[in-house]
Structures are given as C-alpha cells and as structure tokens.
C-alpha cells in the first residue's frame, strides 16, 4: 500500500512550467500596461490578451481561462487594486472575454478561427463588458455609452494587432 505522502507528490510537467511562465508573463504585461499613460480612460493595448490567445490555441481553453483569471487577481494584488473598482472592471472584462473564447472555441474547434479572430473577439467582449460594468455599477449616465463606439474601435484595432503578435508567439512556441 503506498503511503499518503507519496501519493500526494505532484510532478510538474513541461506544460505546467510553461503555464506558470505564461501566467507570469501575462502579469508582467498587465503591470507594464498599468504604468503606460492612456489617451482615454479605458483604452489600453490589452497586451496580456496575447498570452491568453496563444495559450488557448496552444494548450486549450482551460489553460487560457486560468491564465486570464489568475492574471487579473495577481495583477490586482501587485498593483494594490484588489477588490477596488479598477479590479472589478478588469475582472468583468476578463470574465466576458473568457466566456466568449469558450464559446468561440466550442464553435470553431480551432479550425475556423485563428489567433486574430480569437483576439478580436476577446478584446471586444472585454471592452463591452467593462463599459457595461462601469455603466451599471459606477457611472449610470447615458454619456458613458457615447464612448462605446470609440472604445470598441480601439478594441478592434488592438485586437487585430495582438492577434498577429500571438500568431508569431505561437510560431515560436511550436518550435522544438
């Protein structure tokens, strides 16, 4: 009979290490971005999304969801915004983008969409959810909705750019 301590031993696989590295990378990008000045509140490149999309295509949806949500929590801890309005906005956006990635993954089975499609979907869902949360919880003023087209335009552009970066990352990741 194996003893209890031995059965609980976890052997991290090569993929586990990669996932940890990718989450760390996503958190770093999240932090760098927080320091960047933004022309309009809410407009950010969303570079951490590159990691989520690449992980989705490389390791599957579950890993991507973990990276995305861990990134928000770890980023919140490091920036000192945990459970603050900023954090809630970030979490709302991340949840929405994870949901739409799940849906797109079910539909596409990684054949219909490439990194650019996933990235654009995630970026739009993130921005739409963030604006929605901001409207419902913080600024219930119709003026906020006037910003929506501008914010979504930015999300579309950054989504395409991030998707292209994610593709390059995938090409490099797939090399032995």
């Amino acid at each position: 009979m194996p003893d209890a301590a031995a059965t609980l031993q976890l052997k991290p696989t090569r993929d586990d290490y990669r996932i940890a590295w990718l989450t760390a990378l996503a958190v770093s990008l999240h932090l760098i971005e927080a320091a960047l000045p933004s022309p309009l509140p809410g407009i950010k490149p969303g570079l951490a999304n590159i990691i989520t999309v690449a992980a989705l295509l490389h390791y599957g949806f579950a890993v991507a969801a973990w990276i995305s949500l861990l990134r928000v929590v770890a980023g919140g801890l490091l920036l000192g915004t945990l459970f603050s309005p900023t954090f809630i906005l970030s979490l709302g956006g991340a949840c929405a983008s994870v949901l739409i990635l799940c849906l797109a993954d079910r539909i596409s089975r990684r054949r219909w969409f490439g990194p650019v499609g996933y990235s654009v979907l995630a970026a739009l869902a993130h921005m739409a959810a963030q604006t929605g949360v901001a409207y419902i919880l913080f600024i219930p003023h119709p003026g906020l909705l006037y910003l929506l087209p501008v914010l979504l335009s930015a999300a579309l552009i950054f989504g395409i750019v991030n998707g292209i970066i994610a593709r390059y990352m995938l090409l490099r990741l797939s090399k032995p």
Binding site: F113, L124, R167
Partner: protein, 127 residues
Amino acid sequence: MIPPADIPLMTAGDRLVIVLAAILIAVLYAGLWRPSAAPAAVEYLAAGESGRLDLHPDRVVDLDGPLGTSRVQFADRGVRFIESPCDGKQCLHSGWLRRGGDFAACLPNRVALTVVAADRGYDAINY
C-alpha cells in the same frame, strides 16, 4: 494543436469576425452619435403677449413693447435683436441666439426671445 506551418495570418473566420465587428461599431456610431435636431423655432414674449416664430426663413420682425418697437432679425437659423428703443441695449449685446435654450431679453421694453429645441443644452457649466 495546429502544426506551426499551418497558422495562417487570417482565416476566413477571422475575416468574418473583423467585418462583423466593424459593422457593429459603424452601427453604434450611427446610432449613438446622431447630431441633435437643429432648433426650429423661437418663443417670444412682447409686452405680455407670447407666441412662436419659425427660425426659417430669413427676415426681420418687429415686436412692440411699452417703449416702442424692438426689431429682431432672423438669419442663418439664428435670431438676434438689431434695434431697440431701450437705453442699455443689453438685448443687442446678447448677439446671435442659435442653440436650444439660448435666451435674450429687453427688460425695459418687455420683449424676450428663447430658442426652442428638443435639446435644451445647459445654462452654464462650472468646473
């Protein structure tokens, strides 16, 4: 997993997503950023009598008050006082009234003009 050589820059699905997103954004711009309807009329008050005048066509209208005749000019979808029998001429200095809620009055002659529009705008904004 997709073999590395098989990652195209954009699949047909990607293009579809981008096109649909662009259409959605265009619809949002069109729906949310519609210019507010231009003001169409002016409410006037002259010696206790009130009424409504269209901003169009361009013309000059005389409004009578206790001191005499205040003359107002309609032009270019706006209105202004151009002649007044009063001393202060505050009404003339008010200049053109073009936006919803714009207001000018000649108190001595008891004549007032207000531009009427769906969007009343603001009287004043403070920071």
